[in-house]
């Protein structure tokens, strides 16, 4: 996945706390200019991995190399940290003005005053903060404060930017605007970016590579569409938004189409697996279509089932419909469709999905 020579390389990264291994990453490389997301649920070890890569943990074993130089041997941790930028979920601003906050990293590097003024103003402009330059940091809103934190990280012109869930405490519109601006700044500056998040939408929007981690271990590493459409296991499938995950046994294989027995029912899916082998079928909710019982299946979909609506969850713009078709199935439908179909709990409905909408994982 690393497109260029690695700017950062981690080998045998391991953290044990009270007999429990919280991080175990045998090998991890980040290419220069790459924008990658580390995603996983809360407690998966994303922040721990980030802190270890920033060399901010003392109690870890393994090797971190920056541009081929081993940190701690060829380059000191403090020297290495002068090449990185880090933004946390909390802005962690100092109790001083916006300008002084953005200037802080430059002052640590003893840059002369005239240059500080130029660099800070440039970064304040970048993040739309110039009118706030003299404002005390404590008086800023959450979104403004996080912008200052980002401007502070960019002011030192880092080689690698680490973002540890920087949008988690922001409301939706503020988050959207900030991601939009940040995306532009990252692309303009071509800075290598490592972004930890538990929000897959943020990861899909910002990055060109996604690393999924769980229990401190890397589970999948690939391009966003690859991780999204071809999850390597049940955990990744579930985390990437696959609502229906079914276990089955392959009955036959014909022309690349598998017939899989699930709870005594046959489901056809595109994939490869030996006959009699166990597989997991991942069906995304947006790939399932619903029709009234009275209408014969109209689509060319190979899989058509009758099911009972067991639960409906409204998610604002769409409704999430849970069905019992002899196996559980989840579909997303628009509010308008739900109205025209008269979907309510307890009714029977016809569901169909294509063989190509199913991702098959060999067990």
């Amino acid at each position: 996945m690393v497109k260029d020579r690695p700017i950062l390389e981690a080998k045998n990264l391991r953290i044990d706390r009270m007999g429990v291994t919280t991080l175990d990453i045998p090998s991890f490389k980040v290419g220069e200019g790459e924008i990658l997301s580390i995603i996983g649920p809360n407690g998966a070890g994303k922040s721990t991995l980030l802190m270890a890569m920033c060399h901010l943990f003392r109690q870890f074993s393994g090797i971190i190399s920056f541009k081929g130089k081993e940190v701690g041997r060829d380059i000191s941790p403090s020297e290495y940290r002068r090449h990185i930028g880090l933004v946390f979920q909390e802005p962690l601003l100092f109790n001083t003005s916006v300008f002084e906050n953005v200037a802080s990293g430059l002052k640590f590097r003893r840059i002369d005053k005239r240059n500080i003024e130029k660099i800070v103003m440039g970064n304040l402009e970048r993040f739309g903060l110039a009118p706030l330059r003299n404002r005390p940091a404590r008086t800023l809103s959450g979104g403004e404060a996080q912008r200052v934190s980002l401007a502070r990280a960019f002011a030192i012109n880092p080689d690698i930017l680490f973002l540890d869930e920087p949008f988690s405490s922001l409301d939706a519109p503020t988050k959207d605007n900030l991601i939009y601006d940040l995306e532009k700044v990252i692309k303009d500056s071509k800075v290598t970016t490592i972004f930890a998040t538990h929000e897959r939408d943020e990861a899909l929007r910002l990055s060109e590579r996604i690393v999924v981690i769980n229990n401190g271990r890397m589970v999948q590493d690939g391009a966003p569409e690859e991780v999204m459409n071809y999850p390597c296991n049940e955990f990744v499938a579930s985390f990437m938004g696959v609502e229906t995950i079914l276990s089955g046994v392959v009955l036959k294989e014909e022309g690349g189409i598998l017939t899989v027995s699930v709870s005594g029912l046959n489901i056809e899916a595109v994939g490869e697996a030996p006959i009699d082998s166990k597989v997991i079928l991942c069906i995304k909710p947006e790939g399932v279509f619903l029709y009234p019982v009275s209408i014969e299946a109209q689509s060319s979909a190979r899989n058509n089932f009758m099911g009972e609506v067991t639960r409906i969850v409204s998610s604002g713009f769409y409704q999430k419909v849970y069905l019992n078709c002899g196996f559980p199935l989840v579909a997303y439908i628009t509010n308008a469709s739900a109205k025209s179909l008269g979907v309510k709990e307890g009714i029977n409905i016809r569901a169909s999905f294509k063989a190509t909408s199913i991702h098959v994982i060999k067990v």
């Binding site: 920033c54 403090s78 109790n95 802080s104 640590f108």
Partner: protein, 233 residues
Amino acid sequence: MELILEGVLKAIKMLISLDREVLDITILSIKVSGIATAISVVIGVTTGTLIAINDFPGKKVALSLVNTAMGLPPVVVGLFVTIFLWRNGPFGFLGILYTPYAIIVAQAVIATPIVTGITVAAMQQLPKKLQLQILALGASRFQMAVILIKEAKLSLFAAVMAGFGGVISEIGASIMVGGNIKGYTRVLTTATVMETSKGNFDVAIALSIILFLLAYFINLILTYIQQKESGSR
């Protein structure tokens, strides 16, 4: 009641007429306790910061020792400072026992743990990730400590107030190591005790009022600065 009234009136008269002896005692008290507090702030803030930002074996033991020392009885401090400064003691060669310097030493010993303890608590109240953020901005550990002290300065004002309050009002150590020598080591507290024992309640009341006003004004100034800082947040 009459005794108190007479005492208060005499006190007011002494204050208005700026009695030379009372003035000297007051100035010496401010000097001694001010210097002792300054010393304790330098040592206490440094030690407190070092304890707070470093993980080392025995950190909890060190902290419990600091917390215990915050309540050191002044007479115990007085006893040990006397022993250390005694002619045959380890620091007897300094020859400062029964001088204002001895009082400064004793008061600094009393105030340092107070300032240290409050500094540690203030540092621990800062967000845990702040240290990581500062280091990630490229700061050295010294630069990080300076920033943390700045961030905790409101609480550190409280440390200064507590330290000064502790020493300006203590008596045991001052009398033991200073000796309450007239015109030389007599401070407000030792003078008050002496005048009371002599039955000069009016003078004792006057000295008490000065002591109270002094503590009040110093704390008023520090509180004013603290609140001004707080308002700018």
